[in-house]
């Protein structure tokens, strides 16, 4: 995260490849389910043997045996509907929820976050020198309407996407944050409203950032979790 600061986000998970390297973020939407970005997962049907999600730590390189660290293998991947840029990962077993590991709520279907809502991104990704990315970083972002966003993005922003305002100080997600959450605090609860997807430039000043709008796909998420 560029322009962020160290913080906690108990639903943000780290996707690890077979060598144990962090390569993307994800969000814990159910004890045994993680939502991440399609760009992060190389296959919709081949099993990601050896891939894991790591939770319960803010360290990018947690030491073996670190308290509260949970490592859970990924057993299945479910690619989202066309254009969703989403993937659901089913874990080998439910994670243990505690002070360091929490689920994030899903929004109601089709819910549109009112412009001006204060949200937050989280990740272990590239900070472009604005901090040492050895611990989880968070950054506050404010939602803007798609209409306003399309002024800068010249109408390219889809309805199943949402935007946050471009700040003068470079602030935003970057390499390694993809798949992580844009969480918004609504009615006393953190809600997964957006999912971090690759934007053409990281944290470009005064340039709105684009996220996948999760509420458009909540019916698919619930259906997969319920049917599986």
């Amino acid at each position: 995260v560029v322009g962020g600061h160290p913080g906690t986000s108990p639903w943000t998970v780290s996707l690890r490849n077979r060598q144990g390297q962090h390569f993307c973020g994800g969000s814990l939407v159910k004890e045994q389910w993680v939502l991440t970005a399609r760009q992060c997962v190389w296959s919709c049907h081949e099993p990601l043997t050896g891939y894991e999600v790591w939770l319960g730590t803010i360290n990018q390189n947690p030491q073996p045996g670190e308290a509260n660290l949970q490592k859970v293998p990924v057993t299945k991947t479910f690619c989202g509907p066309a254009g969703s840029q989403l993937v659901l990962l089913k874990l080998e077993r439910p994670v243990t929820l505690n002070h360091h590991v929490a689920r994030i709520c899903l929004p109601p279907e089709q819910y549109v976050v009112p412009p001006g809502t204060k949200c937050e991104i989280a990740g272990w990704g590239e900070s472009k020198g604005t901090s040492n990315n050895t611990v989880l970083h968070v950054a506050s972002m404010k939602v803007i309407s798609n209409q306003e966003c399309n002024v800068k993005h010249r109408g390219h922003v889809q309805e199943n996407e949402m935007c946050t305002e471009g700040l003068l100080v470079p602030t935003g997600a970057c390499e390694g944050d993809y798949g992580g959450p844009l969480a918004c605090y609504t009615h006393n609860c953190w809600v997964l409203e957006g999912l971090i997807i690759p934007n053409r430039v990281c944290a470009r000043p005064r340039w709105p950032a684009i996220f996948t709008r999760v509420s458009v796909f909540v019916d698919w998420i619930n259906k997969v979790i319920q049917l599986e």
Binding site: F23, C44, P108, E109, Q110, S145, Q147, N188, R200, W220
Partner: protein, 470 residues
């Protein structure tokens, strides 16, 4: 620090049965710490050629036979693993093959070998003993002949002849960087013995065999699981972590007609405007990272020094500063031109669609779709709505009479906003959306100004208990 297991070849989850009921395997020895302990017991015994290791009881059973012995049969087993002495099961020879105990019994010209315990037609000085392994009429090398195992022949005109068994080094050559190498060389170019991949000593490492099933990290053979320039292994020398292996190259380019292993099949089609899977076959010209940072040229060593020198990765097309995936990472990537950012993925390259061309269209969310398309967007056939396998359906013609669940046609019994779907005939995929698209004249209902703005009323609220104590 070699492990006694280095002399053994492992068959996971296998048990070796002897079909002759008169022959009884050794007793189960339960007081054993681990498989290495079993190997220590079996190793020195001339009449022990293999052993079973019971994963749950930690017991072992020594066996005087291998899978190549007569009247034996391999069976799947959930309880034990089978370890067999390499000398008895390897199909090639190390050094001059003095240790070879395989079952080849013909010379290089195809002449049948004479049994070692026979004096006819060729008399000779060798007496079979358990130690010299002069068994039946198998090729052996009792006199350390530099040409490898040989035998007396049953032909009166040819007294003896070499059997021409290949050395393990020459038996399998290396294409490209050797990711596909599956030979049986277990020493490095300096002659150090390789450490078993399933051991974490003397060197700990991330390449656990069951996490890298596609890399065949069995026993302690040279392999290339991480996109190195050629096969390598961790060594049993605590001072030398890993070394390359000295293996012959098959030639500069991938074969067109070799037995196409799965990944060769995958690499048959190079892609230029998108990438499939991990993008190891991507050969396009994108040369910036997802975040727009220009890539460093592969033939440059600054700002980042690296081992991916183009001439050592001839098959990976490391041209200019194009995004590539020479090491099996999750997607095409590159070293970046920014000193503070060593590598980054090129996720902006679109993934090649795995979807078939839509064969029809639907209105709204397709609840009224009554067409005949019966395959998913990936081309998988739909399961019949009235069938119960491979998936037990939640929606059936009786449970949802209004949904028109006929045959295995795509339908939308639950009003899924993403369109018609079906249960699939792929046991691994319960349901998927269909090879259909919205009809052209259709615009999906706008999310942004819905008829009634969805109010936010349910969620796992945090119960901040107000403190009742005064």
């Amino acid at each position: 620090q070699r492990s006694p297991l280095n002399d053994f070849q492992l068959l996971r989850g296998m048990e070796l049965k002897n079909l002759l009921h008169t022959v009884v395997p050794g007793p189960w020895q339960e007081d054993v710490a681990d498989a290495e302990e079993c190997a220590k017991r079996c190793g020195p015994l001339l009449d022990c050629r293999a052993f079973h290791y019971n994963l749950s009881s930690h017991g072992c059973q020594l066996l005087p036979w291998t899978e190549h012995s007569p009247h034996t049969e391999l069976h799947q087993s959930s309880l034990c693993d089978l370890f067999q002495k390499k000398d008895y099961v390897r199909t090639c020879i190390m050094d001059n093959g003095v240790g070879y105990r395989g079952t080849v019994a013909r010379t290089v010209d195809g002449l049948p070998c004479q049994a070692w315990n026979s004096r006819f037609p060729n008399d000779h000085k060798y007496r079979p003993t358990p130690k010299n392994g002069l068994e039946e009429n198998f090729c052996r090398n009792p006199d350390r002949d530099s040409r490898g195992p040989w035998c007396y022949t049953t032909s009166g005109s040819v007294r003896f002849q070499t059997c021409g068994i290949k050395s393990c080094r020459d038996a399998v050559c290396v294409w490209c960087n050797g990711e596909e190498y599956r030979g049986q060389v277990d020493v490095t170019e300096s002659g150090r013995e390789c450490q078993r991949w399933d051991l974490q000593h003397p060197h700990s490492h991330p390449f656990q065999p069951d996490k890298f099933l596609d890399k065949a990290l069995n026993d302690n053979y040279c392999r290339n699981p991480d996109g190195s320039e050629r096969p390598w292994c961790y060594t049993t020398d605590p001072n030398i972590e890993r070394e390359f292996c000295d293996l012959p190259s098959c030639g500069p380019n991938l074969p067109l007609t070799t037995k196409a292993s799965k990944s060769h099949l995958r690499s048959k089609g190079k892609t230029f405007n998108c990438f499939r899977g991990k993008g190891e076959d991507y050969r396009g010209t994108t040369n910036t990272t997802s975040a727009g940072v220009p890539c460093q040229r592969w033939d440059a060593q600054s700002p980042h020094q690296h081992r991916f020198v183009p001439e050592k990765y001839a098959c990976k097309d490391l041209r200019e500063n194009f995004c590539r995936n020479p090491d099996g990472s999750e997607a095409p990537w590159c070293f970046t031109s920014r000193p503070g950012l060593r590598v980054a993925f090129c996720y902006q390259i679109p993934r090649c669609t795995e979807e078939v061309v839509p064969e029809g269209c639907y209105h709204g969310s397709g609840e009224q779709y009554r067409g005949l398309v019966s395959k998913t967007r990936k081309g998988v056939q739909c399961q019949h709505w009235s069938a119960e396998t491979p998936h037990k359906p939640q929606f059936t013609p009786t449970s949802a009479p209004q949904a028109g669940l006929e045959a295995n046609y795509c339908r939308n019994p639950d009003g899924d906003s993403h369109g018609p779907w079906c249960y699939t005939l792929d046991p691994a995929t319960l349901f998927d959306y269909c090879a259909l698209q919205r009809c052209d004249d259709e615009q999906p209902p706008s999310v942004l100004d819905p008829p009634d703005q969805v109010q936010f009323d349910k969620c796992g609220k945090r119960l901040d208990k107000s403190n009742k104590l005064r």
